[in-house]
Symmetry: C2
């Protein structure tokens, strides 16, 4: 019997989940839920129903695990606890500072409804977090570095789009190669925000807009750009669509640390992702955790988990004996 | 109360465990067990007793987790099951092909003695295995590549030392940079053994030995060297001691894979280790799993585990709330 997966919210991530389900033989897409008129939403998979989000509870028995695909700012803080009371759920909540609060809310809902939930699956939080934890556990005496990119930051692109005179924009976060090399050398450098990443902006201006003013507003925007070396390129709408339509991303989690009775030996642990599609890779991580949540729920576990709580074997379609024989 | 760690076998790995225990604040070294005369074994830590291996069972109550530091060829297949009946144990058994058999033996012993055991901790098997599993679970459609080095292979160094006329030797396994680049490109190359690694040998010959014969014997040795491009350098004993005394190692686990409804997007997951000291890093991984085994035993779990069965949170000295707040 396949794991029946529900998708709640059908944007980039929802479509990514749809693809990931197709690529995992032990899963099947059971239904998609949308806040739009279901008749206007056409999905990639044939024969799978699209329902209105308001009707979700009437389809409780059709879904083994529901994947929440809304945004972390306003959707997930409400939706995940709401649905966790009735479904086993996985989300990709990525507002790092609010994870403890979100965890508490979802955990309470899961315990009330006897479900299993897992929050903050993806790559950061997610695979990057796992690598931070493993590397810290193995090398207690060391220093952590996370670099992002080269990749499109949706938050920064949105920030540019809100500037007067901007029609569209795409922002790339780029790790500084010399900073990466300094970290890899084991020198434990102290790096400022500016030294770690640069920001490249591709902006389509509205007709007659003041380009110099737009560029100044971007470069001086607090939190988003002011602390970085930022370059702004004005391009045509056509060029944006042709060369900047995809959503690549990735990055590096590095820990350097010392071992030995007198800390005499140096070690480097480096984890790197290079992703053509940020939402599809995020969805692929989520799919693996859907499998784990399904298994935990089948074993009558209850409550909210994160990637830290999941034994790796639960993520694989293989059984323990096969894993030990082929992957250990 | 600290975790009381015992070391069974005091060679390179045993000394590494001793250092790792010193570097983990929640652990303390309780005793070292040796097959040599304990009076002849001097350890780095002051005030810790060294006992004879034959007396190990009389010290059962002094040890929370015993780390087995013998070799995989003949020591661990006997020692780990023997001790797992009486102690919680961790070993670094690394004969990949014999892991299923070893697991079964240790599991039976642990279940008989109501202990927790964990086999094959280290970096390969160990951290590399984990990365193979995670990457396969996340990217079901893809290809795996493991590269080792640059680093000293003890097995290959030993094989050279067994040749007539050889006084000492050090063998480095070196990954081929162009093969690494081909893999990272996402081209999914099929690579032969020869294309992935080269082997560099530094050999001290005995006086009057036939160097040409030694070199030929090395290069034609089946399994060890015949399938590789091997270079042999004859050096003096002094040069070996000066430039080749340390045991560096490392390597790369790479998976490239495709996502998308029609497999249209490519992704790269790369995990890299660069280690000054192979035994000390192996020991550092083992120490983290000592913590996990101690916690599982405290929770009345029983039986043999591998790194695949251990939730990452169990490896960290931090509690779940702190991990979520600081590392997720």
């Amino acid at each position: 019997m396949k794991i029946r997966v529900g998708i709640f919210g059908y944007g980039n991530l929802g479509r990514g989940i749809e693809c990931a389900v197709k690529n995992n033989e032990d899963m099947e897409l059971a239904a998609v839920f949308t806040r739009r008129d279901p008749k206007t939403v056409s999905i990639l998979t044939e024969g799978v129903p699209v329902y209105h989000a308001d009707d979700v509870l009437t389809h409780k028995d059709e879904i083994d695990v529901m994947v929440l695909c809304g945004g972390s700012a306003t959707d997930l803080p409400v939706q995940t606890p709401m649905l966790a009371e009735h479904f086993n759920v996985v989300d990709s909540f990525d507002t790092h500072a609010k994870i403890p609060e979100h965890f508490a809310n979802v955990d309470a809902a899961s315990k009330k409804g006897n479900t299993v939930s897992l929050i903050s699956a993806g790559w950061d939080p997610g695979m990057f977090s796992l690598n931070r934890l493993y590397a810290n556990a193995v090398l207690p005496n060391g220093a952590d570095y996370t670099f992002w990119g080269k990749g499109v930051s949706q938050g920064h692109s949105d920030a540019i789009r809100r500037i007067e005179g901007v029609a569209d924009a795409r922002q790339y976060t780029v790790p500084v190669e010399s900073a990466l090399e300094a970290v890899r050398s084991g020198a434990n450098p102290t790096l400022t925000t500016r030294e770690k990443h640069t920001r490249e902006c591709y902006v389509v201006a509205k007709e007659g807009a003041d380009l110099a003013k737009i560029e100044k507003e971007i470069k001086e925007m607090p939190n988003y750009f002011a602390d970085y070396d930022t370059t702004v390129h004005f391009i045509s709408k056509e060029e944006l669509q042709k060369n900047h339509a995809s959503l690549p991303h990735g990055g590096f989690v590095i820990r350097t640390g010392k071992t030995g009775f007198n800390q005499e030996n140096n070690h480097l642990i480096e984890y790197r992702l290079k992703l053509d599609s940020n939402p599809e890779f995020t969805a692929s991580v989520i799919a693996a955790y859907v499998r784990a949540v399904y298994r935990l729920a089948s074993a009558k576990d209850v409550g909210c988990k994160t990637v830290f709580d999941i034994a790796p074997a639960l993520l694989s379609p293989m059984d323990g004996e096969t894993l030990r024989r082929t992957m250990l």
